[in-house]
């Protein structure tokens, strides 16, 4: 069987996969959920949701994601990575929950796949205008179906073997064409006859009906013989265990460190002072991301910078980012402006999401200032695609400065651009937008620090609870006070360390050989988030919200310090 599982077989006709439909396939006992995304890509996945084993073939094809019918988990086009878990709407599914995928190729009007690690696809037929006949499922062993099909050749003609289960042959009673006939081994006792004619016949319908009658009669004959023997036991499918990491529900997010090579596929002008970059996978697709996620980009000069992914759901062939050209840049944007060209290779991190989008709001309000539009663009695409209620406010200095103006057009009435407002006007407009809070509304804001501060203050004044106001700073502009000194105890590593004035906890950890993830190292990105077991942190970051800061249950070790003499961390 292992030899067989590496072989490619047709599992559906291309016509079986209209948009927004999920086809139920099977090969050698393994069931598949097969669906075509709106971008045309065909996905062949194990027919089993990783959560509780429900068949994905009863799920909903939402165009860019497949939604499981049981708890609404979403899985992305191409990667099969989980992008959303509705039971925990505030969390990004940080662990890499990825359904099992199978190889897929559309060729000659058929969809081909393999039940295991596949060999390279060798075209079993010449390129031609192949015309698919109506597939005929047969309740008999694939071997018996194959033998009976071969025996149904026009007397005097000799079938030519194309694959283990495929023949080029003239069918007795046919119209003389050299048909390609493939037997799809569905299960131990089931098969599908998938036949192709080498060109579209002059009278397609009549020809289809003719062969359909012929193959129906052949099926009758095969099944009559098959019924004489007891039906074989179905093949017991093997299910791979999920990784230990997925099975154990870690509470703390760990930073992802893997680096991925990408090619700069496009560099373009995305509005005055903004450069758009499309970073493409060198091969296949990029890892699953969720709206709000960002990547680290390793620049040629050694700097590492964070950029939000602007893509819509299921767009996995490249990540789109936007970079602001800043005159007093800290080296990131000027490098990109000058040194990075189309075709260059860059290293990026896996996507990380500290700004997850809840999809359980009755209405979502997105507020973008300038380049802060990037994560919100991904959110808007997601909300729009899922037909959720939202409004998207974009503030820019001038029409020319409006970043990604083209991308905004598709949102129609959902978008309100606010162009060229002065500080007072901006304040009044924001006041109007924020308005008063009502149940299950959520607000997302990204932009310059003063704007964020203002929106947060307005929201607080208007009765918005902290957990309904989501923000992402590009950077921490606060002056960090490094004057304190204190002791840090690492609960799990049984280490006690002294943090002197002028040094960060993160630095001290690393000096002592403790591995700790980090990224921006200025208290903005949340990568170094650590659980606090005892003591009172001196929060200096812009990542945690006020409620989270007051809870003193976690802190960012790259900037925050201690108010108490000692901190006990869960490291």
């Amino acid at each position: 069987m292992s030899e067989l599982s590496a072989a490619w077989h047709p599992i559906a006709s291309s016509e079986d996969l209209p948009y927004r439909h999920v086809f139920h396939g099977q090969l050698l006992g393994r069931e598949f959920a097969v669906w075509r995304a709106d971008d045309g890509n065909v996905n062949v996945w194990e027919n089993r949701c990783l959560h509780r084993g429900v068949r994905l073939s009863i799920g909903i094809n939402e165009g860019a994601e497949l939604k499981c019918q049981y708890h609404g988990w979403r899985y992305a086009n191409r990667t099969a990575g989980c992008t959303y878990i509705p039971a925990h709407p505030a969390d990004a599914p940080a662990r890499r929950i990825t359904n099992r995928t199978y190889p897929v190729i559309e060729f000659a009007g058929l969809v081909w796949s393999a039940a295991g690690a596949a060999d390279a696809f060798v075209e079993p037929l010449q390129e031609a205008d192949w015309f698919a006949l109506r597939p005929i499922p047969v309740t008999a062993t694939p071997e018996m179906v194959r033998d009976k099909v071969v025996a149904a050749a026009e007397p005097g003609s000799e079938p030519v073997r194309l694959t283990e289960f495929g023949y080029s042959m003239k069918l007795a009673g046919g119209r003389g064409e050299d048909a390609a006939v493939f037997i799809q081994p569905v299960d131990a006792g089931r098969a599908v006859i998938r036949a192709l004619l080498p060109e579209t016949p002059a009278q397609p319908l009549a020809t289809l009906r003719h062969y359909n009658a012929l193959l129906n009669a052949l099926r009758e004959q095969i099944e009559r013989t098959a019924r004489e023997a007891p039906a074989p036991e179905p093949i017991e499918p093997e299910y791979e265990p999920v990784s230990l990491e997925l099975a154990t529900m870690p509470e703390l997010r760990l930073g992802t460190r893997t680096s991925i090579r990408v090619r700069v596929a496009r560099k373009y002008d995305a509005g005055e002072g903004v450069i758009g970059l499309d970073l493409a996978a060198l091969e296949g697709h990029l890892p699953t991301f969720q709206p709000g996620a960002h990547i680290d980009v390793h620049l040629p000069n050694g700097l590492v910078r964070q950029y939000s992914i602007t893509n819509g759901p299921g767009e996995q062939l490249h990540y789109g980012i936007g970079v602001k050209r800043e005159p007093e840049s800290r080296g990131g944007s000027s490098t990109i402006a000058e040194a990075v060209r189309e075709g260059d290779l860059l290293a990026i991190s896996e996507p990380r999401n500290n700004f997850p989008l809840r999809r359980d709001a009755t209405r979502t309000t997105l507020i973008a200032g300038g380049i802060g539009i990037t994560p919100l663009l991904a959110m808007a695409k997601n909300l729009f695609g899922s037909r959720l209620e939202f409004d998207f406010h974009v503030f820019a200095r001038s029409q020319q400065h409006l970043p990604f103006a083209d991308a905004l057009e598709r949102f129609g009435d959902h978008v309100s651009p606010h162009i060229g407002l002065d500080a007072a006007e901006t304040g009044r407009t924001l006041e109007e937008i924020v308005g008063s809070y009502s149940f299950a509304r959520h607000l997302y804001v990204c932009g310059p620090a003063p704007m964020l501060e203002l929106v947060r203050a307005l929201a607080a004044r208007n009765g918005w609870p902290d957990e309904a106001v989501h923000f992402e700073y590009f950077k921490n502009t606060r002056e960090i006070d490094q004057s304190s000194s204190f002791t840090v105890e690492l609960a799990r590593s049984a280490l006690t360390l002294e943090v002197p004035a002028g040094r960060t906890i993160l630095e001290v950890l690393r000096e002592n050989g403790v591995e700790a993830p980090s990224s921006c190292e200025q208290g903005a990105c949340g990568t170094c988030l650590t659980k606090v077991l005892e003591g009172t942190p001196d929060h200096q970051d812009v990542y945690l919200n006020e409620t989270e800061k007051q809870a003193n249950a976690s802190m960012l070790t790259c900037v925050s310090r201690s108010l108490s003499d000692k901190l006990v961390l869960d490291i």
Partner: protein, 289 residues
């Protein structure tokens, strides 16, 4: 054929609703793949295995259902509320389902599916969040208990008028039975009781027997049955599309989230009790040891 372990065998198992067995008419059903016959005779109920008609099996009528055992049954769990005078107790139906008993119990404990499977009744998008709740396994009582379970529901019961946050308590006092208590729309100090008793016909086929014990003096029995059947009828195609049909006890077989705490506790408890029927037992993997 796989036989239940002694722990399972020494339980009472439900085999019929009281009213399904009329006098003078033998009622046939199956328990643990063993065909059995129930008769209502002048001197009471008689349950026997079809292949051993001489040897009577233990029998109990409780909660509106008939229970028997292929072993020496320990006492049946208590639902004290059932005996409260003002409750409307009813058998809401016994439905055959192509699933294992533990999968059906896990579904009964699960709140995350309300908006998707019981749309506009027990839940509705966008209100999908499963808030933190508490779970404990009480070893001496031999039951799993989940408390402080809350969910936003558009129409929680036959008698409810609008949406509300509903609070649940779930008990699993028997490997194949579960009892839930939920806020009662007509009396905020009391709780409606709904229970599912699974009869393991085979490892992958059950009869789900449903009990309702409600505080509601407005709705008819037909209305209340209809409500519960509507709900269970929605769960049924989910259960019948779950693979594997037996509940895998290996934590790495599926992907739990925080909302699944009660299911995880239930799976662990089944493992500890050596339950071997309707489950795929945990076989330690070399790499994990």
């Amino acid at each position: 054929m796989n036989r239940p372990n002694p722990y399972l065998n020494d339980h009472w198992h439900v085999v019929a609703g009281n009213e399904a067995v009329a006098s003078g008419q033998p009622f046939r059903t199956v328990l643990f793949d063993v065909p059995i016959i129930i008769q209502r005779l002048a001197d009471g109920l008689r349950v026997t295995a079809a292949l051993a008609p001489e040897k009577p099996l233990p029998v109990l009528e409780r909660y509106g259902f008939i229970w028997t055992s292929l072993g020496t049954p320990m006492p049946l769990f208590e639902i004290p509320e059932y005996d409260e005078a003002d409750r409307r107790n009813m058998n809401a139906g016994s439905l055959g389902v192509a699933v294992s008993a533990p999968r059906a119990i896990e579904n009964f404990l699960d709140m995350g599916h309300f908006p998707y499977v019981h749309t506009d009744i027990l839940g509705a998008e966008p209100h999908t969040e499963v808030k933190e709740y508490d779970v404990e396994v009480s070893a001496e009582r031999g039951e799993v208990l989940a408390t402080r379970c809350r969910f936003f529901q558009p129409r929680a019961a036959t008698s409810s008028a609008g949406g509300q946050e509903v609070e649940y308590v779930y008990r699993v006092p028997h490997p194949y039975c579960s009892v839930l208590y939920k806020s009662c729309p007509s009396d905020e100090n009391r709780r409606d009781v709904i229970a599912i008793f699974c009869q393991p016909v085979g490892e992958e086929r059950i009869v789900a027997h449903m009990l309702q014990s409600l505080i509601d003096d407005v709705s008819t029995i037909t209305d209340m049955r209809r409500f519960q059947q509507t709900i269970f009828g929605q769960d049924k195609p989910i259960l019948e599309n779950q693979y594997p049909k037996k509940l895998p006890l290996d934590p790495r077989a599926e992907t739990p989230i925080r909302a699944d705490k009660s299911a995880i506790a239930y799976r662990r408890w089944l493992s500890q009790m050596g339950v071997n029927y309707g489950v795929i037992p945990l076989v330690p993997r070399v790499a994990d040891v």
